[in-house]
Symmetry: C2
Subunit: 233 residues, 2 copies
C-alpha cells in the first residue's frame, strides 16, 4: 500500500513528525499561548513559510497536537484498564482515574490543551472526537464488565432525568441501565474537575496530600456510580 511510497512521502511524514515533536517541546516549555510557528521552524532549520506546506495554519498544528494528546491519555487509560484485569470494578475505576491524573500531572500543558479553555476560535474539528472519547470508553468498559458480573448497585435516577438517561444509554451503551450511564457521565466530568483543579493550581495552599485526597474522592465517585465490590462466585 503506502509502504514503499518513494523518498518524498517518506520525508514528508518524517518532517511532519519532527515539526510536531518540536512543537510539543515548545508546548511543554511555554504553553500553548506562546507556541510560535516561526520558532518551531527556526529550531528545525527551515524557514517559516516552508512549514505551511505541512500545516496550513497554526491552529491546524494545535489541532494535531490536541489529537495526539487525546490519544496519549487515552492510551494510558486503556493500559491501566488492561493492567487491572481481574480486579473488582471500583479498583479498576480507581486505577484508570489515577492513570488519567498521572498523565495530566506529567503533561500539564498538553492537559490544558485538551481539557482547559479551548484555545483558538475553538469548535473542535471532527478528527478530535474519536481520540477524545477513548478515556470515556474505558469507563464504559469497566461499567459493562461490572454489570455483566452483577457488581453494580443501580444509583437512583431522578424522574425528570429519565428521558435524557434513556437517550444517553441508547446512544452510548444500550446494554447498560440508563441510571448507570448518567451516573457515569457525571462521575466522568467530576473526575476531570478534580484533575483540572490540581493541574491548574486551584488546590495550591489548600490540599497538601493530593494523592490521598484524590484516591479517596475517586473511590467515592465509583461508589456513586454504582460500582460495588462483588467477588466472583
Amino acid at each position: 500500500m503506502t509502504s514503499v511510497q518513494g523518498a518524498r512521502a517518506r520525508a514528508r511524514i518524517e518532517v511532519t513528525a519532527a515539526i510536531k515533536d518540536e512543537a510539543r517541546r515548545q508546548l511543554a516549555a511555554e504553553g500553548a499561548a506562546k507556541l510560535s510557528l516561526r520558532a518551531v521552524a527556526r529550531e528545525l532549520g527551515m524557514v517559516s513559510s516552508a512549514l505551511y506546506r505541512y500545516f496550513p495554519s497554526r491552529d491546524d498544528l494545535l489541532t494535531a497536537l490536541i489529537v495526539d494528546a487525546y490519544d496519549s491519555v487515552g492510551a494510558d487509560a486503556e493500559a491501566a484498564l488492561a493492567a487491572s484485569r481481574g480486579a473488582d470494578a471500583p479498583a479498576r475505576w480507581v486505577a484508570v482515574c489515577r492513570a488519567v491524573r498521572a498523565w495530566a500531572l506529567a503533561h500539564p500543558h498538553e492537559y490544558a490543551l485538551i481539557y482547559g479553555s479551548p484555545v483558538p476560535g475553538y469548535s473542535a474539528p471532527r478528527d478530535t472526537v474519536g481520540p477524545a472519547s477513548r478515556v470515556g470508553l474505558t469507563f464504559i468498559t469497566i461499567a459493562q464488565d461490572a454489570h455483566r458480573r452483577g457488581s453494580v448497585a443501580l444509583p437512583p435516577l431522578a424522574d425528570e432525568l429519565r428521558p435524557e438517561a434513556a437517550r444517553l444509554a441508547d446512544e452510548f451503551a444500550p446494554d447498560l441501565p440508563p441510571a448507570l450511564v448518567v451516573a457515569l457521565v457525571a462521575a466522568w466530568s467530576q473526575l476531570f474537575g478534580m484533575v483540572s483543579f490540581e493541574v491548574f493550581g486551584q488546590f495550591n495552599r489548600m490540599v497538601e496530600n493530593r494523592d490521598a485526597f484524590f484516591t479517596a474522592a475517586v473511590r467515592r465517585l465509583a461508589h456513586d456510580t454504582g460500582l460495588i465490590v462483588r467477588p466472583a462466585p
Copy 2:
C-alpha cells in the same frame, strides 16, 4: 478620605474603568487569546502607549479582569445563598451551584479566564486569592449553618486521609468536622468539573437536557458531602 481627590484621580479611575470595560467586551467577543491592548486603545480613541500608564502590561490587564470575574461569580453565588435563606441545606447547595453554572454559561470567556487553563506565564498573583475564594466560602457557610442545625450526616473518611482532613479543617473551618471539610473540597472541585465540561463543549453531542442533568448531579454531590434535609424542630 479619597472622596474629593481632584479631577486627576477621578479621571484616572474613570479611564481605568473604561479600559476594563472595553477589554471585557473584547474578551466576551473573541476570548482572552485575542485580547489586544492596541485594539482596546484604538476603540477608546487613545494611542497604545498611553494605555501603559494604566496597566503596566497586558498580563496586568488580564489579572484585573480575572479579579473582576472572580468577584462577579462570587457575588452571584453569595446572592443565591442569601436568597435561599431558610431553605434546607441541600436546597441551598443546589441553589448556589445553579447560580455558579448560570454565571458560567452567561460569561463563558470570563469563566475560561478563571477556571480554564492559566493564560499568562501563570502563577496567579496574590490579589486574586481573596476574590477567588468567595464561592468556596459560600459552600463553607452552607455547611456551617447545616452543621449548627444538626442537618449533616458525616461522610466516611478514609484513614490515610485523616491527617490531611484535620489540617484542612483547622485552616479553613475549625468548627466543622474534618470529614465534612474534605468532602466539601471534593464536591467543590467536582462541581466545576461539570460546569467546565458544559462550558468548554465536552458535553456537545452527548448530554442534551443539561439543566436536569446538572441539577440531579449536584444534588447527589450535596448528599455525598453529608448535607441532609432535617426540618427545624
